[in-house]
């Protein structure tokens, strides 16, 4: 029986023995081979590796978007993949914030509404209505702080790439999650814009004390992180 690494007490999220395989026709393709990874509270971790190393698959499993073939994801000590569907969705809503390479904003909503989405998803009609003003003020405040005061009512199509990513960061941080998972957040931006977006993300991470798992190819970006985890062929090396 393989030996399971113990989880450190200051660990926020811990992946243990994550195996992920895909069935392609009659062939089974294993992309993660028993990966262990810990991210401590407030820690800034860079996850690096070549394309196909399994970085994205690992963060999808740890972000509760894709069920592992085997292994556990312990969030605050409990196995998140063992939770019922609704509880797991609620955990994804409140404890984890996602920042994607392609922003993934809803095109029909303006900047403020996009930021408000996690609060809309996490609250009932009456619960949201009771706190609507508080939520809206907060969303506007975050966007103003992120330099988007002139863009509050603009839809994604009316925003630049950097502005979209700032809206996406505000959305990820809106419900004060314990952890942010950022998948190549500057990968679709020019270097100057990417620098500014990264600076914003790191500043917020520092101020809020939120854990950040940053997937990147960029060594310069990774250099800002407290710890760099490298992956190769579905294993942490």
């Amino acid at each position: 029986m393989p030996k399971v690494r113990p989880v450190a007490t200051d660990s926020l999220i811990a992946a243990r023995g994550i195996v992920k395989s895909f069935q392609i026709a009659d062939r089974t393709l294993e992309v993660l081979h028993g990966v262990d990874l810990d991210v401590k509270r407030g820690e800034l971790v860079a996850l690096m590796g070549a394309s196909g190393a399994g970085k994205s698959t690992l963060i999808q499993v740890m972000g509760l978007l894709d069920r592992p073939t085997s292994g556990k994801v312990l969030l605050d000590g409990s196995d998140a993949w063992e939770l019922p569907l609704a509880e797991r969705a609620a955990l994804r809503n409140r404890a984890i914030g996602f920042v994607f390479q392609f922003y993934h904003l809803l095109p029909e909503l303006n900047a403020v509404e996009n930021v408000l989405l996690p609060a809309m998803i996490g609250n009932s009609w009456s619960g949201y209505k009771q706190r609507a003003k508080e939520f809206k003020d907060r969303a506007r405040g975050m966007l103003v702080k992120f330099g988007l005061e002139q863009r509050l009512d603009h839809r994604p199509a009316q925003l630049s790439g950097g502005e979209r990513q700032r809206v996406a960061i505000a959305r990820a941080l809106f419900l004060d999650p314990k952890m942010i998972i950022a998948d190549e957040p500057t990968g679709n931006l020019d270097s100057a814009t990417g620098e500014r977006v990264l600076e914003l993300l790191l500043t917020e991470q520092h101020e809020r004390g939120v854990s950040l798992l940053l997937v990147t190819h960029d060594e310069r970006l990774a250099a800002h992180c407290q710890r760099i985890v490298r992956m190769e062929d579905g294993r942490v090396v």
Partner: protein
Amino acid sequence: MYKYFLSWRYMRARRTNLIGVVGIGVGVGALIMILSIMTGFLEETKKSLRGGLSDIILETDQRMFRDGRRVPHSPAPLLEAVRADPRVAGACAQLSWFGMLTQGGSRSAYATEQLADPQKGNLSGVRLFGIDVQDEYQTTELRAALARTPLLGDERVADLDDPFAPPEGYVPDGRPLASCLVGEQLASEWRLRRGSEIWITTALIDAKSGEVHPSDRRFVVAGTFRSGENEMDLQRIYLARAELSDFLGTGREYSQVLVRLKDYERDGTDVQLDFQSTLTQQGLVPRPEFVRTWEDYRRPLLGAIENERVLMAIMLSLVVVVAAFTVFAILSMMVTEKRRDIGILSALGATGPGITGLFVLIGFWDTLLGATGGAILGVLGAVYIDPFERGLSHTIGVEIFNRKVYLFDHIPAIVNPVWVGVIVLGAFVIALLFALVPAWKAGRLHPLDALRYE
């Protein structure tokens, strides 16, 4: 919360949703309007069909009873027995027979000539009704039919209390003729006016020899009536009962007795059953099946109109189904188009059932707007169909609703709120069932597959 917010936003943002909204609106509106008009037609037709018949009809065929007896020659015993029932408001005896109307000659030879060559035209088959005016007024709608404003030239009788009085200005050529009352359409077709003379020809079969004996007589038109029922206004001629009995010369005084009840809806069936037993026992009606309600009498026609209403409802329901299918098609397209959004929502914490709910809600808004708009338009359309039709007919110069054909001076429409509710509810059920399929598929999408979709 997001389900309501996003579904409304998606609904507004995608103009294709309008197709579903309009489709449902048209279906619901048409269904309400047509059913209201059909109900109006049915009720009006019932009224006019009942008008000439009263509530219960006692046919007193002259055939023998099984024991060899015959019904009395005089209607008096039957009328007395019927009127003794406290549930009866009025009763009248009628003598009816068929005849042919001819005009244009002053000799019976002309009628014979016409009969010899029916291809020549100028013949109308008519039903002759011998009536007692005051009894008739108490029992049927004849008084109203005589008083009703005509659609085709005003040839109403001068005195309603004595409709068979010779028309004003009528100067008989020889012996004064007996008066008759002619249906408005028949009068119009034959260009009859008050004071016009008509020949009525009939044929009687000798019960013993089996020979047919033609008989004819001239009458003067005292006025016209408009019952509102085509068959009556085109074929019926009223005469004084004694006059018709004399004309037929068979000794028959009546062929049926009509009965009006104080409350037909409450007592109709009971009175029918009572009369079926008592009147046959008393030898006043030959058989129980000769005691019929007006609905028994008109069942085929009422059934046909009711059938038509049901068929219309079924056909127009298909419009709603087609509209609901449009909602299905639009939502299916939207689910494909919004796959990335579905992935984003999942990543932000939305569950599969929540996403299903989001898309069902889009179908719900489509239906709510369509059904509400359709219901309002349908009700308004039914209520204002008459002025609308008149305006449209005037504008395009074509008479859409021919009042002469239907004999209604307006398009009747009765809006039944229960029906409106059922139609709107039905539209919701159908549209939401159709919306459920793409919505369910959306809820089953894997978040990552959806996120990867570009």
